[in-house]
């Protein structure tokens, strides 16, 4: 897989891994049966994301985009964070291979779910949104080229 140096850096040295004790927004997207799960926790104070952490079950692109998303929104207002899309995340990583674009959807989706969850009820886990990436991101399943078998 031809990943940019930035992707490799965020994959090998992921930023903000883990959970937050005082999280008041949680987002989880993906589904174990379609492969990937991204879990993001945020701590919001006065409309600002003062802390963010992630856990990801997925490929290098999934881990790198999660890490990048956390770096991009830390310290930002919710409004600024809501503007982040899979495209801006992928761009910040100097691009992703076409077959890996769907992984970046998960990171943006997980962030937006966490913000939604914060707005709905301040981090009660009952509100955590879960779903398969096939439903959540319509571009998830495009651009798929199978690798030849060896």
């Amino acid at each position: 897989m031809d990943y940019s140096q930035k992707v490799m850096d965020h994959f090998m040295n992921p930023r903000n891994v883990g959970k937050i004790d005082l999280a008041n927004g949680i987002g989880e997207v993906g589904n174990p049966t379609c492969g990937d799960i991204m879990h993001i926790e945020i701590e919001v104070k006065e409309d600002k994301i003062i802390d963010i952490k992630f856990q990801t079950f997925g490929c290098a692109a999934a881990i790198a985009t999660s890490s990048m998303v956390t770096e991009m929104v830390k310290g930002k207002t919710l409004e600024e964070a809501e503007k982040i899309t899979n495209r801006t995340v992928a761009e910040a990583l100097d691009g992703l291979p076409p077959v890996k674009m769907h992984c970046s959807n998960l990171a943006a989706d997980a962030l937006h779910e966490a913000i939604k969850n914060y707005r709905q009820g301040q981090g009660s886990s009952a509100n955590v949104q879960k779903g398969c990436c096939k439903q959540l991101s319509n571009s998830c399943c495009i651009n798929i080229e199978e690798q030849p078998e060896q």
């Binding site: 990937d36 799960i37 077959v99 080229e145």
Partner: protein, 384 residues
């Protein structure tokens, strides 16, 4: 940095002796094996010598071997031309763990109006004789079951499966691309009618392979053109490739018992080391009847591509059947056929060792791999 190649089921390096044998056939003896002049005669002699070397490795007669561009072409030719030419019927049987060279050929046949049965395997990846017995029909013309699986290394009971097929009047083909050169393969002992092999899996060059066709079995050409390979495979013969394949076959024949024994010990050491240090890990494939250098495992809570890239950063090269490495949303069809869940298959890792791997290589992998899995699990929302 270290460079430890443990992906020999994908391909192998060309052995230096094989390479040396090939060199003259690029610039000195460059003749077309079909030509009458002395350049052509020398090329023909080299091709026929290689045919003997390959035949000897699998216990065939040289006249039963035709050279192809590799395992894929051999599989296609065997299956498509036998199904097209036979008078018995339109039913073809294969297994769920075949290489795509066979499975996709079966799917192609369905589009052409043939019928296909795909046999399930048990949790070790074994095609059970009774499953085949139940699937055979009066109109079954051909059964194709691989000798050894490329992902999990399971070795199939070809002798028994071929005999069962013959009782029902069907021909039997085996894709032996992964077994030839690694374990003893004798076409007479196995009782197969057709067998595919590929040079680049046994330290020969890529783009060359062969199809064994038992004397008397009526096969036809798949590529149409000149009368090469006794009218069974058109196209100017790849002389350097054939020579390399022949040399590789000869060396494999000489070295097979030692290599197999050696790789078995390395694989045992690696498997034991992984399972002892890393909880929530399973060995996939048959515990005993498996290819000598194959160690295929699944780690819970982590994803294969991440493992591969982490290993690669330490100079260790391996492969995986996870969904993310396939580029599709589905993990390998082989792992699913074994009954593994999508989640488990996601954490697949295949380490396939070759003759140049050492005990030190194994210990180096065992030094790095457990902490890679630990770190990735810490990053995983599923990990404990």
């Amino acid at each position: 940095m270290k460079s430890i190649y443990m992906d020999h089921s994908a391909t192998t390096p060309v052995d230096p002796e094989v390479f040396d044998a090939m060199i003259p056939y690029f610039t000195d003896i460059y003749g077309n094996a079909s030509s009458v002049h002395s350049q052509g005669q020398k090329a023909t002699r080299a091709v026929e010598h290689a045919r003997e070397q390959v035949a000897q490795l699998i216990g065939a007669s040289p006249r039963e071997i035709i050279f192809t561009s590799g395992g894929t072409e051999a599989d296609n030719q065997a299956i498509i031309t036998i199904m097209a030419a036979n008078k018995k019927g339109k039913h073809f049987i294969t297994s769920a763990i075949e290489h795509h060279a066979v499975l996709h050929t079966g799917e192609y046949l369905v589009k052409q109006g043939y019928e296909l049965t795909i046999l399930p395997v048990n949790s070790f990846g074994v095609v059970e004789p009774d499953t085949l017995r139940a699937a055979l029909r009066p109109d079954t013309a051909l059964v194709s079951i691989m000798h050894a699986n490329n992902e999990v290394g399971t070795i199939e009971e070809i002798k028994e499966l071929a005999a069962i097929s013959h009782e029902a009047g069907a021909l039997f083909h085996t894709d032996a691309v992964q077994s030839v050169g690694k374990i003893p393969v004798d076409v007479k002992d196995l009782g197969v009618d057709l067998l595919s092999a590929s040079s680049h899996k046994l330290y020969g060059p890529k783009g060359i392979g062969c199809l064994f066709i038992k004397k008397g079995v009526g096969i036809s050409s798949y590529l149409h053109g000149g009368g090469h390979e006794r009218n069974l495979r058109a196209g100017t013969v790849n002389v350097p490739g054939v020579v390399g394949f022949g040399k590789a076959a000869e060396l494999a024949n000489q070295r097979l018992p030692q290599n197999a024994e050696y790789l078995k010990i390395l694989a045992q050491r690696l498997t034991k080391g992984i399972l002892e240090t890393t909880p929530n890990t399973i060995l996939t494939g048959h515990p005993v009847n498996r290819l000598p250098g194959n160690v295929s495992v699944c780690f819970d809570y982590v994803e294969g591509e991440s493992i591969l890239l982490m290993l690669d950063s330490y100079g260790i090269m391996a492969s995986s059947g996870s969904a993310c490495t396939s580029g599709s949303l589905d993990p390998s069809h082989v792992l699913l056929a074994l009954g593994l869940s999508h989640e488990t298959a996601h954490g697949s890792l295949r380490l396939t060792m070759g003759k140049d791997n050492t005990t030190e290589d194994v210990d180096y992998v065992l030094e790095k791999l457990p902490s890679i899995i630990k770190n990735l699990r810490m990053m995983s929302p599923l990990g404990k």
